[in-house]
C-alpha cells in the first residue's frame, strides 16, 4: 500500500513538471500551428547551461530558472523573428523539418562545446527527502514541482488576464479575425513562441537536477512531450496537463511494479490505446473548418 501511495505521489510530482514542459509545446502549436521539434533541444540546452551555472558559479540549479527563463524568452523571440517566421504560410510539414533542423543544430553545438557526456546537477539537497508519514518525497522533485506549478500559474494568468494573453488566445482561434481587430499576427506569434521557449527555460533548469542528460537526450524528451500533447489533444492546455499527469503516473507505476526500462514503452502504449478510441486525443476538439 505504502508502495502504491509512494508511486502515486511521485507520479503527480513528475506529472506537474512534465505539464510545465509540455505547456510550451502546446502553446506554440495552438497559436502558430508549428510543432516545435526543437522544444526538447531547448530543454537540454538550458539544462546544460544551468549545470554550468551551478558548477562554475555555484548558483542553485532550480533558482537558476530566474536567469534561464528570461534568457530563453529572448532566444525564442529572436528565433521566431529571424528564422521561424520565414516559413509562415508554407505547408505545416516545413515547420516540422525546420524545427527538427534547429534541434540538430543545438545538439551539434552542445556536442562541440560541452562534449558528448552525461551530466547531472547535484546540489546539497539532491539526495534528501521530505518524509510525510511513510512516504518519501525527494526534495529536488518537490522543489521542481513547486517551481513548475508557480510558472504554470503565471502562464495561466498571462493568458487569461492580460491583453497580451487575450491577443494570443484570439490569434490561436482565428488569426485573420484577430488581425482585423488590431492584433498584429507576427508580434503575437513571436510572443507566443517566446513564452513557449521561456517555459523550456524553467523546465530545463529543473531537468538538470532530476534527470541525467547529454546532448542527444533531446530525442527522448521531445518524444515524451509530443506524446503528452498528442495524448491530451494538440493545442489544448488542459489536455497537456492531463497528458502530463498520465505520463508521470504511468512512468512511476511501471518503474515501481515492473522496471524503469519499460516505463517509456508503457506510455507509448497508453497513447496508442487512447488514439485508438479518440483519434483527436483526450481534449482535442474538432473545430468547424468550413467557416475558416
Amino acid at each position: 500500500m505504502a508502495q502504491l501511495v509512494q508511486a502515486l505521489a511521485l507520479g503527480v510530482l513528475i506529472g506537474g513538471i512534465y505539464a510545465l514542459m509540455a505547456s510550451g509545446l502546446t502553446l506554440i502549436f495552438g497559436v502558430l500551428r508549428v510543432i516545435n521539434i526543437a522544444q526538447g533541444a531547448f530543454l537540454i540546452l538550458v539544462a546544460t547551461f544551468t549545470w554550468w551555472l551551478w558548477r562554475v558559479i555555484g548558483i542553485d540549479p532550480i533558482v537558476a530558472a530566474v536567469i534561464t527563463t528570461p534568457l530563453m524568452f529572448g532566444v525564442g523571440w529572436l528565433l521566431y523573428r529571424f528564422v521561424i517566421s520565414r516559413i509562415r504560410g508554407q505547408a505545416p510539414s516545413m515547420s516540422v523539418l525546420l524545427t527538427f533542423g534547429l534541434a540538430l543544430v543545438i545538439e551539434g553545438v552542445l556536442n562541440v562545446v560541452a562534449g558528448n557526456k552525461f551530466r547531472s546537477a547535484t546540489p546539497a539537497y539532491f539526495e534528501e527527502s521530505f518524509r510525510v508519514g511513510r512516504v518519501l518525497l525527494p526534495k529536488a522533485q518537490v522543489y521542481g514541482f513547486l517551481a513548475a506549478i508557480v510558472v504554470l500559474g503565471v502562464l495561466y494568468l498571462i493568458l487569461t488576464r492580460t491583453w497580451t494573453g487575450r491577443a494570443i488566445r484570439a490569434t490561436s482561434q482565428n488569426p485573420s479575425a484577430a488581425a482585423l481587430v488590431g492584433v498584429g499576427a507576427t508580434g503575437t506569434a513571436a510572443l507566443a513562441f517566446a513564452l513557449g521557449s521561456a517555459s523550456a527555460g524553467v523546465g530545463g533548469s529543473i531537468l538538470s537536477v532530476l534527470y541525467p542528460f547529454f546532448p542527444a537526450s533531446h530525442y527522448d524528451w521531445i518524444s515524451r512531450l509530443l506524446g503528452i500533447v498528442v495524448l491530451g489533444g494538440m493545442g489544448s492546455l488542459p489536455g497537456a496537463l492531463t497528458g502530463a499527469l498520465i505520463l508521470g503516473l504511468a512512468e512511476t507505476l511501471t518503474a515501481t511494479y515492473a522496471s524503469l526500462q519499460w516505463a517509456t514503452l508503457v506510455f507509448y502504449l497508453v497513447i496508442m490505446a487512447v488514439l485508438l478510441v479518440r483519434p483527436q486525443g483526450l481534449f482535442g476538439a474538432r473545430l468547424r473548418e468550413d467557416a475558416a
Binding site: 505547408a91 523539418l97 533542423g101 540538430l104 543544430v105 545538439e107 518524444s223 509530443l226 468550413d290
Partner: protein, 603 residues
C-alpha cells in the same frame, strides 16, 4: 532510336547513370573503398526514395524512418541465427516485418489528419531500441548479434552487396514511379494538398495513408536484412540510430521531396557530404551540427529541393510550346460523350426521391446551424436551396457529404442510410460536390486534378494508371465538356476563379455522380462563364444527373431550378416550383427582402 527520343530527358539520364553504376565494379574491380562509398549511397538513396512515398507524395513527415532498416536487420539476423539459412534469402521477410509494423502503427495514428503521426514515428524508433535492448532472449540485448561471413570467396569482396543494393535501389525507384503514375499516387498528393477535399472526391484518406506508410517501409526492411549481412554484426544502438533518419530526411529534402529522382540525387549528395565529414571533419559530434545546419538552410533557402528548382529554371528558359495541341480535338465531340457516360451510370430514370434528409441537426457550441431540417431531392431534378447567409445551407451540404458528422437525424441516398458513412464512401455511391470557395489542388496540373477522383473503392481503381491511358483520356473529355481542354497542362492555381469552378465541376464528373451538390456555382463568376456553367448543368441533367444547388443568384435559380427550397434559421420554411416561391410572401419577407418585387426577376 525514336523510342529513346520520346523518353523524357530525366529517365534517359537515369538510365545512363544506371549503366555506368552497373559497369563500375567490372571496370574497376580492385578498389573496395569507392565501391563501399557507392554502396552506402545506394542504401541511403533507396531509403530516401521510400520515405518519399509517405512524406513526399502524401506530405506526412516521418522522422524515424531508419527504424525500418533496423527492423529488417533484426528480423533477418534472428531468423538466420535460428534456421541457419543465408541472410540473403531471408531479407524479404525483413521487408514484411517492416510493412506489418508500419501498417499496424499507421492504422492507429493515421485515421485523423492530425499531427500524431510525427510523434509516433520518433516514438516507434525509440521504442524499437528499447525493445531491442531489453528483450534479451530474442535480440541478445546490447551485446548484439553476430552473423556468419558471406559465403563467397574473398576475391569478390563486397561486389555482390554492391549489386544487391543497386538492385534494391532500382526496384524502389520503379515502385515509387509506378505509385506516382497510378491514381494511388495522385490521391496521395491530393491528401498532401487538401485532405478534406481529397476525401470528398472519393479518396479513402485513411486507407491511402496507411498503405503509403506500409509501401514506404518495405524496401527499407529488405535492405535492412542485406545490410545486417554486409555488416555481419548488429546491435540496438547502431540499428536504431536517429542519425540514419536525419540522413534520409535531408536527402529527400535536398534533392526534391515529392519528385521521383529527387531523393536519389539528394541521397548521393548527402552521403558524399556525410562521408567527407567522417573522413575530414572527425567526430560524429560535428557531423550532427553540419547536417542540422544544412537542413535549416535547405528549408529556408531551397524548400523545393534541387531538382524542382533546376527544372523551374530550365522551364523559364525553354517555355513549352506544344502542350495543348493534341487536346483541342476533344472539344468537338463533346455532347455525345456526356450523355453516353451519364446514362451508363444512372439507370434509375424512374421518378422518386434520390436524397432524403430527415430531422437533421447540427450544433456548434451554442449555435444551432441546422435545426431538424427535412429535405427531399427528386431523381432527375435540379433542386435549389436558397436562403440568407448563415441559414445553414453550406452546413447542410457538409452533413450530406460527410465533411462533418450529424448530431441527429438521418440522410438517405438512393435508398441507403449514409449519415454514418465516411465522405469517400458517399462519393463512391455517386454523391459529388463542389465548394463555395474552390478547393482545387493548386500545385497539381488541371489534368491531374481531374484524374484524382475515385468513383469506387476497389483496389483495381486505386492502382489504375492515372497519367496516361483510359483515365487520362476521360479526364481530357470532361475538361472538354466544361470547355477547358486547352488548359490541361496548366497549374490549377494559375487559373482564374471562374475557370477553377469549371475544373471543380469536371473533377466531380469524374466520380460518375448521380447527384451533384453545387455550392454557389455562380459566386464570383463573370456572366459569360455563368452562361457556360448553366449550359453544362442543363446538359448533364438531360443526361440523367440530379443536382442540388445552393445559390444567391436568384434570377439564375428561378430560371434553372425546380423545385426551390427556402432555408432560414437552419430549416426549410417554404418549398415549391419557382413561380410559387417567387410569389410566396413568407419567402419574400425572410429572404428576398421587402424591396424585392416579382417583376425584377425578368429585368
Amino acid at each position: 532510336m525514336n523510342a529513346l527520343r520520346a523518353l523524357p530527358r530525366r529517365h534517359l539520364a537515369a538510365g545512363v547513370v544506371l549503366l555506368a553504376l552497373l559497369a563500375y565494379p567490372i571496370v574497376n574491380p580492385w578498389e573496395p573503398y569507392p565501391q563501399g562509398v557507392l554502396l552506402m549511397m545506394f542504401l541511403l538513396a533507396l531509403q530516401a526514395s521510400s520515405w518519399n512515398i509517405i512524406s513526399g507524395y502524401a506530405g506526412y513527415i516521418s522522422l524515424g524512418h531508419s527504424m525500418f532498416l533496423g527492423l529488417g536487420s533484426y528480423t533477418t539476423a534472428i531468423i538466420a541465427l535460428h534456421t541457419g539459412l543465408n541472410p540473403f534469402w531471408i531479407a524479404p521477410l525483413g521487408g514484411v516485418t517492416a510493412v506489418l509494423i508500419a501498417m499496424l502503427a499507421g492504422a492507429v495514428v493515421l485515421r485523423t489528419g492530425g499531427h500524431a503521426f510525427v510523434i509516433i514515428t520518433i516514438a516507434l524508433l525509440l521504442s524499437a531500441q528499447i525493445v531491442a535492448v531489453n528483450w534479451r532472449p530474442l535480440t541478445k540485448g546490447s551485446d548484439g548479434i553476430t552473423l556468419e561471413l558471406p559465403f563467397w570467396s574473398a576475391d569478390f569482396q563486397n561486389i555482390p552487396f554492391y549489386y544487391a543494393f543497386l538492385l534494391l535501389l532500382v526496384l524502389t525507384v520503379l515502385f515509387s514511379g509506378w505509385i506516382g503514375r497510378a491514381k494511388f499516387g495522385t490521391g496521395l498528393v491530393a491528401i498532401r494538398e487538401d485532405e478534406g477535399k481529397a476525401a470528398s472526391i472519393g479518396v479513402n484518406t485513411t486507407v491511402f495513408k496507411i498503405l503509403a506508410y506500409g509501401a514506404s517501409s518495405f524496401f527499407i526492411g529488405v535492405a535492412g536484412g542485406v545490410y545486417a549481412y554486409y555488416q555481419t554484426f548488429l546491435n540496438p544502438v547502431g540499428s536504431f540510430a536517429i542519425l540514419g533518419s536525419v540522413l534520409i530526411v535531408l536527402s529527400a529534402l535536398v534533392g526534391g521531396r515529392g519528385t521521383l529522382y529527387g531523393p536519389v540525387v539528394g541521397a548521393f549528395i548527402v552521403q558524399l557530404v556525410n562521408e567527407g565529414a567522417t573522413v575530414y571533419g572527425g567526430s560524429t559530434q560535428s557531423r550532427v551540427l553540419i547536417l542540422g545546419l544544412i537542413l535549416v538552410a535547405v528549408v529556408l533557402f531551397l524548400p523545393a529541393g534541387l531538382l524542382p528548382t533546376l527544372e523551374a529554371a530550365w522551364r523559364r528558359r525553354h517555355p513549352r510550346d506544344t502542350e495543348y495541341t493534341d487536346q483541342v480535338g476533344a472539344l468537338s465531340h463533346r455532347p455525345a460523350v456526356v450523355r453516353e457516360r451519364a446514362r451508363s451510370r444512372t439507370p434509375d430514370a424512374e421518378p422518386g426521391p434520390l436524397l432524403t434528409v430527415r430531422g437533421v441537426t447540427k450544433r456548434f457550441g451554442g449555435l444551432t446551424a441546422v435545426d431538424g431540417a427535412d429535405l427531399t431531392v427528386e431523381r432527375g431534378s435540379i433542386t435549389a436551396l436558397i436562403g440568407p447567409n448563415g441559414s445553414g445551407k453550406t452546413t447542410l451540404f457538409n452533413l450530406i457529404t460527410g465533411t462533418m458528422p450529424v448530431d441527429a437525424g438521418t440522410v438517405t441516398f438512393a435508398g441507403r442510410r449514409i449519415d454514418a458513412l465516411p465522405p469517400w464512401s458517399r462519393a463512391h455511391l455517386g454523391l459529388g460536390r463542389t465548394f463555395q470557395v474552390t478547393r482545387l489542388f493548386r500545385d497539381m496540373t488541371v489534368l491531374q486534378n481531374v484524374v484524382a477522383p475515385l468513383p469506387d473503392g476497389r483496389l483495381r481503381t486505386m492502382f489504375a494508371d492515372a497519367v496516361s491511358g483510359a483515365e487520362a483520356a476521360r479526364a481530357r473529355d470532361l475538361l472538354g465538356i466544361v470547355g477547358l481542354a486547352d488548359f490541361a497542362a496548366q497549374q490549377a492555381g494559375a487559373l482564374s476563379y471562374g475557370q477553377q469552378k469549371l475544373v471543380e465541376l469536371a473533377q466531380v464528373l469524374m466520380l460518375e455522380p448521380r447527384l451533384i451538390l453545387l455550392d454557389e456555382p455562380a459566386g464570383g463568376v463573370n456572366p459569360s462563364l455563368l452562361g457556360r456553367i448553366t449550359e453544362v448543368i442543363r446538359e448533364l441533367n438531360r443526361a440523367g444527373v440530379t443536382f442540388l444547388v445552393v445559390e444567391h443568384n436568384i434570377p439564375m435559380v428561378l430560371d434553372l431550378c425546380d423545385p426551390v427550397h427556402v432555408f432560414a434559421r437552419g430549416r426549410p420554411i417554404a418549398s415549391g416550383p419557382p413561380e410559387a416561391i417567387r410569389a410566396d410572401p413568407v419567402v419574400l419577407d425572410a429572404y428576398l427582402g421587402e424591396d424585392w418585387r416579382p417583376q425584377d426577376a425578368h429585368a
